[in-house]
């Protein structure tokens, strides 16, 4: 559709997303484990049920920890092309978003505990109506991007 944006996000994003995936797997395992335990004792069902649940957990882990982050990282790109920002994301459904810099109202950088540990930050770009996020950039890179867009808006406003 549009040309593929050049900039990739930080390589470390992969690690961060894998951590998220592991946390998600753990969180979803707890209720599964509990219910399996009770069903197992109450119903005296076969051991296969237990094995099946375990297999399911492994599948979830494979996807959330390995497959999805890998593909997502490969697809996630952004680029400032002259006077607009182009963002591309999505695994099986590719989304490209076009935001003219003139429409940008403000730019925030955000950092949760996990991102901070890896010295990463995400950048949130707001127009009057929409919000767009570039996740997991290097701290310095995120700051530069924020500064750059802010300055661009200021000079543009002065020229108007």
């Amino acid at each position: 559709m549009l040309s593929i944006p050049r900039e990739k996000i930080s390589q470390k994003a992969l690690t961060v997303w894998r951590i998220y995936g592991a946390l998600f797997t753990l969180a979803s395992l707890i209720p599964v484990g509990v219910s399996v335990y009770f069903v197992f004792w109450a119903e005296k069902i076969s051991v296969w049920f237990f094995i099946g649940a375990l297999a399911l957990a492994l599948v979830v882990a494979f996807f959330t920890i390995y497959a999805i982050p890998t593909l997502r990282y490969k697809r996630w790109r952004y680029e400032i092309r002259g006077e607009d920002l182009l963002i591309q994301q999505g695994l099986f459904i590719k989304t490209q978003t076009l935001i003219p810099l003139i429409r940008v109202q403000h730019v925030d950088t955000m950092q949760g505990p996990i991102l901070r540990k890896f010295h990463l930050a995400s950048v949130e770009i707001s127009t009057a109506a929409t919000q767009h996020e570039i996740p997991a950039l290097e701290e310095a890179e995120a700051e530069t991007l924020r500064q750059w867009i802010s300055n661009w808006i200021k000079t543009e406003n002065r020229n108007e």
Binding site: M1, I93, Q96, R103, Q105, T127, A129, H132
Partner: protein
């Protein structure tokens, strides 16, 4: 301008407002403390606390009213108020967008109005509500304030001599909803489609679920008459709900009129509770014409303004209904009269025939979920849900027919249908961002979804064309961000 007070009735309103803010803790305290009454000294203390809360609510409003003053000075609207802490709020005149008046029942019996001061939001991320609210002032005061603000505003804007204000008679409204239209609108708004669908589902359910012959042989007509009774009751309930919604809507939109004063649109409506909104024409982001399947056969459409700012007209409608119900021809004419550059009857470029099947399949896929659920629960009896499929095919077909786009010099139109058909007109400057979304399957067919976003109130409003050819999408993107 001298310092102005609110009308004493404000004390009542402000007290009620304080009560509303305290209602949750009060209820919790009431239910928690009502365990047969706490004994001894503790009980007495609790009672005193209740008394204190009661007195606080009573008096707080009075104090707030006494402390509240507003006046215009040095090109600012100045408000001082506060219960414990004195708060000053000075709003520069040039930032004031409009004054919106609302009249509650209490207001009307005393000839008062509630005035909300709308400011241009400074683009902050936080949704600021109306910058200031004058709970109740006399009509005379409201008029004075408006005059005062207008005078200053013009002085600032033009830096020239201000002419002496002459009472200008209010121009004639250019759109008035007549009773007949009001009734059609109220009776076709929202609910009715759902009501009809529910009734159908309900009746067919009984045909399927209850093996009448068997029942009839065993226990005669008892069950049958019972189901009949229940059906009648349910029908009656649905009908009453619908009738109530009709009456409410009629009260709300009675005397609906739109007047143009300079560059402002003034909308008035309501029978018991009169409401008035001011929409600066320069803040309008997009214009949307909506055709609902129920009204379209009668030739009626709704025209909605997407405006920046934070006033909501009606929780049921996005944006501002400029014309809640109007004949399509008239709508096009009136909009063109207001905004000469807008033609809502522009021919849009439809989509190629090849994608029609995609629209139909998409809708049919949606029906699979209820069908699968029904079949898995009711086995073969669940198959009656297959009746949904022809409806889905028909809707998909209609969606394909509606879909289209038009690219002008600086303006753009997208037309699309969910159940209602939307025609969204806007200009390049007002499009906040554009998105192309393409699945693997679409890539193969070289088509893509295109979305555009405009500001509406404090949020976004979306226009979308599905399964657009990639070339057309490119054209639209290039219209949006021209190549230098």
């Amino acid at each position: 301008m001298s310092k102005q007070r609110l009308h004493p009735i404000s004390a009542v309103y402000l007290s009620l407002k304080n009560l509303k803010e305290l209602i949750v803790p009060i209820l919790i305290g009431f239910f928690a403390g009502n365990t047969g009454g706490p004994p001894g000294i503790f009980g007495i203390v609790v009672n005193y606390i209740w008394l204190a809360i009661f007195i606080y609510i009573l008096i707080s409003g009075i104090i707030q009213w006494k402390r509240f003053v507003y006046w215009v000075e040095e090109d600012e609207l100045r408000i001082e108020h506060g219960l414990f802490v004195k708060k000053k709020r000075y709003i520069p005149v040039e930032r004031i967008q409009s004054l919106d008046e609302t009249e509650g029942l209490l207001h009307r019996s005393f000839g008062l109005v509630l005035v909300k001061v709308e400011t241009a939001s400074s683009g902050g991320a936080i949704a600021n509500k109306a910058e200031a609210e004058l709970t109740a002032i006399t009509r005379e005061q409201a008029k004075q304030l408006k005059k005062e603000l207008m005078r200053r505003k013009e002085k600032i804007e033009e830096e020239s001599e201000v002419e002496v204000e002459v009472e200008v008679p209010k121009p004639k409204p250019f759109f008035v909803m007549n009773p007949q239209e009001l009734f059609i609108m109220a009776s076709t708004s929202g609910g009715i489609g759902i009501v009809i669908a529910t009734v159908f589902a309900f009746l067919s359910q009984f045909e399927e679920l209850i093996p009448y012959e068997v029942v009839y042989e065993r226990i005669g007509g008892i069950i049958q008459s019972a189901t009949l009774l229940i059906s009648i009751l349910v029908l009656f309930g649905l009908f009453s709900a619908w009738a109530a919604s009709v009456v409410i809507t009629m009260f709300r939109y009675a005397n609906y009129r739109v007047t143009q004063v300079d560059r402002d649109l003034i909308i008035e409506s309501g029978l018991l509770e009169k409401k008035q909104w001011t929409i600066p024409m320069d803040r309008i982001q997009a214009i949307r014409m909506v055709k609902s399947p129920i009204r379209a056969p009668f030739g009626f459409v709704t025209v909605i303004l997407e405006s920046a700012g934070n006033v909501k007209m009606d929780s049921l409608m996005p944006g501002f209904a400029l014309f809640p119900i109007v004949k399509e021809k008239q709508a096009v004419e009136l909009v063109r009269h207001l905004f000469p550059q807008v033609s809502l009857d522009t021919q849009v470029q439809s989509l190629p025939k090849e994608v029609r099947i995609r629209y139909i399949i998409r809708m049919v896929l949606l029906t699979l979920i209820p069908i699968i659920v029904a079949v898995s629960i009711l086995q073969w009896q669940g198959l009656w849900t297959l009746i949904l499929v022809p409806f889905a095919v028909f809707l998909g077909f209609k969606q394909y027919e509606s879909a289209g786009s038009y690219i002008g010099e600086g303006d753009i139109i997208v037309r699309f249908r969910g159940v209602q058909e939307h025609t969204l007109w806007t200009i390049r400057k007002r499009v906040q961002s554009m998105k192309v979304v393409q699945s693997i399957f679409q890539k193969r067919a070289d088509v893509t979804h295109l979305q555009l976003f405009v500001k509406s109130g404090m949020a976004a409003s979306r226009g979308v064309v599905r399964d657009l050819s990639s070339d057309r999408a490119k054209e639209m993107l290039e219209w949006y961000v021209p190549k230098k």
